[in-house]
């Protein structure tokens, strides 16, 4: 059973689905697409069931020589981090397809569903790739479906937004290409060139080379994530694209940035990562505060939600580069929770925009009484985003802040302001959009129908579930983080109080690792 190519199957299912949808009769398009995305989800669950929680290394590995001359392998595998990202992707895509059922009706419906599935397949491959070259190939290839999804569907001005998106991403990608080539040269100097992650982590990279290569990788991932100051594509893209596409971009594709920081920056260049930490922390803190401040000032609801992600990715980066097990686990958890919470917020905002016919917050208001379900769900998603205890983002935010304070008190102090600002942008947005005197012409506005509720319900349930019981996620993430931390060569600081007297269960979990 172990030799069964589960991951290949997982990656191939949506890609085959994309082809089938592309050529299927138009009446079957949507059903076939959802069918394939559910099949992918089932495969993702099958992968998760075979995953051995106790081992921190790569599992379900597959490896075949791909391009021998370049030392390139078709190599797949998942660790805890990869598995969580795979599951997040597999869960979000069917939800997005159902939620965006009518979003593409005025364009080429078939293309929308086919490109979405193609994007899913390539993203899954990104999270599974254990060969840097393969990773790079699929990393770049995801941009093509994303480009056509942004450019083909959404609001006026989307063509320019798509070009801006692609230019930023490809610029980052080409810088990454330089670093990937550098890795090949370094690897060739030390014997036979190879791109396998397992070979590269063993590589003895000189300090200078390591720092240059790290810079290449980090810039690419910072554009992807995005971090200040290379975030400017984010708001434009989320403003013009349909909410469903924004979910795919922000909740799936952007995760590649922070995923790459954990796996490649820390994994291959531990020395350079530690060297760069101060600068990265500064950028991350700027992202947290600046993203939140700019979000407060937005009048476009989709733009606002896009910019909140800038703030969130700042948190994740702080967690990654705090170089402690709380930070690492917190960052991974944050990636999942941000995926769930922001997806819910985007989709609900999409429902809202469909009903109001505008995205401008200043022209909304007074919907609460007419559409109480929409308003209620929107509030829950918003509260999750601002990190209310009892909802899952709280746990991850707490862990990240813990690690930030561990790293330096002033880093933690600045990061905490992000939470305060989050409360402002979420609650103020809710107030302006939903509360206020009822408007007579809104009276007939329908509340959410069953399809719409069905699409976001799993997200909200997960937010509540993991808010009270985050252990499943932590169980998956912790072994990976432990491995990574020992590879980077850091040990957690001894807590000042004995581990067993700390009430927080996450900290208890870490307590045994010292």
């Amino acid at each position: 059973m172990n030799d069964f190519p589960w991951l290949t199957l997982l990656n191939a299912a949506p890609l085959v689905g994309a082809l089938v949808v592309g050529f299927a009769p138009p009446t079957l398009t949507k059903l076939a697409a959802v069918g394939f995305s559910l099949l992918t989800l089932a495969l993702g669950i099958a992968v998760a069931l075979q995953f051995d929680l106790d081992s921190g290394g790569m599992q379900l590995e597959e490896q075949h020589t791909w391009i021998e001359a370049f030392g390139v392998h078709y190599a797949l595998g998942v660790d805890g981090l990869g598995l969580l990202m795979v599951l997040l992707t597999a869960v979000l895509v069917p939800i997005v397809l159902v939620a965006g059922w009518f979003d593409s009706d005025d364009g080429n419906t078939r293309a929308f569903f086919a490109w979405a599935l193609a994007l899913e397949g390539l993203s899954l491959a990104v999270f599974c790739a254990t060969d840097v070259f393969l990773f790079y190939v699929v990393f770049e290839a995801t941009l093509i479906p994303a480009y056509f999804l942004i450019g083909g569907f959404g609001r006026a001005g989307r063509g320019a937004a798509a070009v801006k998106f692609l230019m930023f991403q490809l610029a980052g990608g080409l810088i990454l290409l330089g670093a990937v080539i550098g890795l090949y040269v370094v690897s060739a100097q030390q014997g036979k060139p190879s791109y396998l992650l397992s070979d590269l982590t063993e590589l003895d990279i000189s300090t200078d080379a390591g720092r240059w290569l790290f810079a290449g990788f980090f810039i690419a991932f910072a554009i992807k994530a995005p971090l200040f100051p290379v975030h400017t594509w984010l708001a434009d893209t989320t403003e013009k694209a349909t909410p469903g596409v924004s979910v795919l971009l922000v909740c799936v594709l952007d995760k590649i940035g922070t995923f790459g920081m954990l796996r490649f920056c820390l994994g291959i260049f531990p020395e350079a990562s530690k060297w760069a930490t101060p600068l990265v922390m500064v950028l991350a803190l700027i992202s947290i505060v600046y993203g939140a401040l700019v979000a407060i000032g937005q009048d476009d609801v989709l733009r606002l939600i896009g910019l909140t992600s800038l703030s969130h990715f700042g948190f994740i980066t702080v967690g990654v580069f705090a170089m402690s097990s709380q930070g690492g686990s917190g960052a991974i958890l944050y990636m999942v929770n941000h995926g769930l919470g922001t997806a819910a917020l985007f989709l609900l905002a999409g429902y809202l925009v469909r009903r109001r016919g505008t995205t401008l917050i200043s022209q909304m208001g007074g919907l609460e009484k007419v559409t109480p379900v929409l308003a209620g769900l929107f509030l829950v998603a918003g509260l999750a985003t601002l990190g209310l205890p009892g909802l899952s983002p709280f746990v991850s935010e707490f862990l990240v802040l813990l690690s930030a304070f561990d790293y330096a008190w002033y880093v933690g102090a600045v990061a905490v302001t992000g939470i305060v600002l989050a409360a402002i942008y979420v609650l103020w947005m809710y107030q302006r959009v939903f509360t206020g005197p009822g408007v007579p012409e809104l009276d007939g506005t329908p509340d959410l129908d069953r399809r719409e509720i069905g699409a976001v319900a799993p997200l909200l349930l997960a937010l509540v579930l993991f808010g009270f019981y985050p252990m499943p996620l932590l169980d998956v993430a912790n072994p990976t983080v432990k491995n990574l931390m020992s590879h980077v060569g850091v040990t957690d600081q001894e807590p000042d109080v004995p581990a067993d007297s700390v009430p927080d269960h996450a900290a208890t979990e870490e307590g045994g690792d010292h």
């Binding site: 791909w66 391009i67 021998e68 001359a69 370049f70 030392g71 790079y136 190939v137 699929v138 990393f139 770049e140 290839a141 941009l143 093509i144 480009y147 056509f148 450019g151 083909g152 989307r158 063509g159 798509a162 070009v163 692609l166 230019m167 490809l170 610029a171 080409l174 810088i175 290409l177 330089g178 080539i181 550098g182 090949y184 040269v185 060739a188 100097q189 014997g191 036979k192 060139p193």
Partner: protein
């Protein structure tokens, strides 16, 4: 001095002899067959000639003797004036494949309503009664096929030349028919003739440079043979300044042919003015042949003096990439955009050329610069032929519609053709899963490994710039609303359709499974001295 009768290796030279034979046969056909039957016969003669030559090329390739303990394969031929080695045979194969695509595009007659894309009567002045008559009588120049075959013969001779004089002869043999072909467009004839004249004048100049360089190098080394020149360079005999000036002048001649900055000025005008089928053929094949000769000259002839010419290549590669990419942005004509993109690709190829390293400096199994350049030429050739073939399809009432506004919204009217064009553009931009990416990776790698990281850094910047105009064109085709008169895709005969399809499939396959072709270039081995 005793005259020794040269022995010719007929088997190894067969592909070239077949091509020249078919060209001569084409001339005979032109003279003796009635006009009505010429077209079909010429196409058959040229096509069969190329296929037979390709078959023989493959046969020769499997039969090359291994030398230098497997590092190289092949032999000298024709008393040492030619080398038939792995790289030569590989380049022959490339030239023949792209030339076959060229013949297919030449033979396309459905697009113009039953006549070819070439002038009805080239001697008739544009806008005169004679031209109108030639057009109404449906006249056709079928001489283009023998011209193409002669050019192909020159292109095969060029990378095989082992001495400077043969190289010069090959240069002229390939250039003269191309000058003519450029001036034979059926529509926009003044533009076409202007292109031909420009190409001819500048080409003649560059040939002059080349010839002068030959003379100076002969003065330095006392020989035309590349191996002996190499020996002289290594032993540092003779006058150093003769060598340097001669090397520079040879470089001018060759860099002109590949269209490197600052010798690129002809490229956009000629690519735009020439009939698009000729542009497709010329853009791919000339580059293949000229890079073959450039590689042989610098790797074999001046191989022991890398430190002299590598800095020059650095500067030229950097200039070429930047100028090509930046000027492509401001173009408003598809053919000119592709021409500037061709210039920037020349820069990328030069990045590979300057990545030359001695075999001892490379790890076991590491990609060599020769392999990288050969592979890049393959990927670039397919994308270019495919892209220009698509350009022949997109037409309005005035013939091919090459200005940007005409292409707006093409993706919605003809998704397949626009999709193919977008795919070729993505390959040129070097997006993964297309052939262009693997080629780009290869040339950047060899340059980086040779320590030319500044060139690679510029190459990455140039790639980012280049991505912009490719993406912008894709946006124009798929997301822009058409305004005014727009172009439509004319249905073509299988000749063009199959060419586009083959190029697209090759671009995809080389991007996803480049292994077999990389093995092929690896097996080709090194140049033989």
């Amino acid at each position: 001095m005793e005259f020794v009768k040269p022995t010719l290796q007929y088997f190894e030279l067969a592909p070239m002899l077949i091509v020249f034979g078919a060209a001569c046969l084409g001339v005979v056909v032109e003279g003796f067959l009635p006009r009505a039957r010429r077209h079909v016969v010429q196409v058959v003669v040229a096509g069969l000639g190329l296929l037979a030559a390709l078959g023989f090329t493959i046969w020769v390739a499997t039969d090359l003797t291994s030398r230098a303990s497997g590092a190289a394969r092949g032999r000298l031929a024709a008393s040492g004036t030619l080398v038939i080695d792995g790289p030569t045979v590989y380049l022959w194969g490339l030239v023949l494949v792209f030339a076959a695509a060229g013949v297919a595009l030449f033979a396309e007659r459905r697009l113009e309503g039953g006549v070819s894309a070439f002038a009805g009567q080239a001697a008739a002045l544009p806008g005169t009664e004679a031209e109108r008559q030639a057009s109404t009588r449906g006249l056709d120049h079928t001489e283009v096929y023998p011209l193409l075959m002669f050019a192909v013969g020159g292109m095969m001779l060029f990378p095989a030349a082992n001495d400077l004089l043969t190289m010069f002869v090959a240069l002229e043999v390939l250039s003269l028919p191309l000058y003519l072909l450029c001036g034979l467009a059926r529509r926009r004839r003044l533009l076409s003739q202007e292109a031909a004249l420009k190409y001819f004048l500048l080409g003649a100049f560059s040939s002059g440079f080349f010839l002068y360089g030959v003379a100076l190098i002969y003065g330095f080394a006392g020989s035309m043979q590349l191996a002996e020149i190499n020996e002289a360079v290594r032993n540092d005999v003779g006058n150093e300044s003769l060598l340097l000036i001669g090397m520079g002048m040879l470089a001018v001649g060759l860099l002109f042919k590949v269209g490197a900055v600052p010798f690129h000025a002809w490229t956009p005008d000629v690519y735009q003015g020439a009939p698009t089928a000729v542009t497709a053929f010329m853009a791919a094949c000339t580059k293949v042949a000229a890079f073959g000769a450039l590689l042989r000259l610098f790797y074999v002839g001046f191989g022991s003096d890398r430190w002299t010419w590598q800095p020059m290549m650095w500067v030229i590669a950097i200039l070429t990439m930047l100028v090509g990419a930046v000027l492509a942005i401001v173009q408003t004509d598809v053919k000119r955009m592709l021409a500037y993109s061709a210039i920037s690709h020349t820069g990328f190829l030069l990045t590979g050329v300057l990545g030359a390293q001695a075999s001892g400096e490379l790890a076991d199994g590491q990609v060599t610069s020769l392999q990288a350049v050969l592979f890049y030429l393959t990927t670039y050739g397919f994308a270019t032929v495919g892209a220009f073939a698509v350009v022949t399809l997109v037409r309005d009432s005035g013939g091919e519609a090459t200005t940007f506004p005409r292409w707006a919204g093409l993706g919605r009217r003809s998704p397949w053709v626009a999709g193919a064009f977008a795919f070729f553009l993505l390959s040129m931009a070097g997006i993964p899963l297309t052939a262009g990416f693997v080629g780009k990776w290869a040339v950047f790698t060899v340059a980086m490994s040779a320590g030319a990281w500044p060139v690679v850094a510029v190459a990455i910047v140039a790639s980012i710039v280049a991505v912009y105009f490719y993406i912008r064109h894709i946006r124009l085709m798929f997301f822009s609303e058409p305004e005014g008169e727009v172009a439509a895709v004319t249905s073509a005969s299988p000749l063009t359709t199959v060419t586009v399809a083959v190029c697209a499939v090759a671009t995809l396959v080389l991007g996803v499974v480049p292994g077999p072709v990389l093995d092929l270039v690896t097996n080709a081995g090194d140049f033989i001295r």
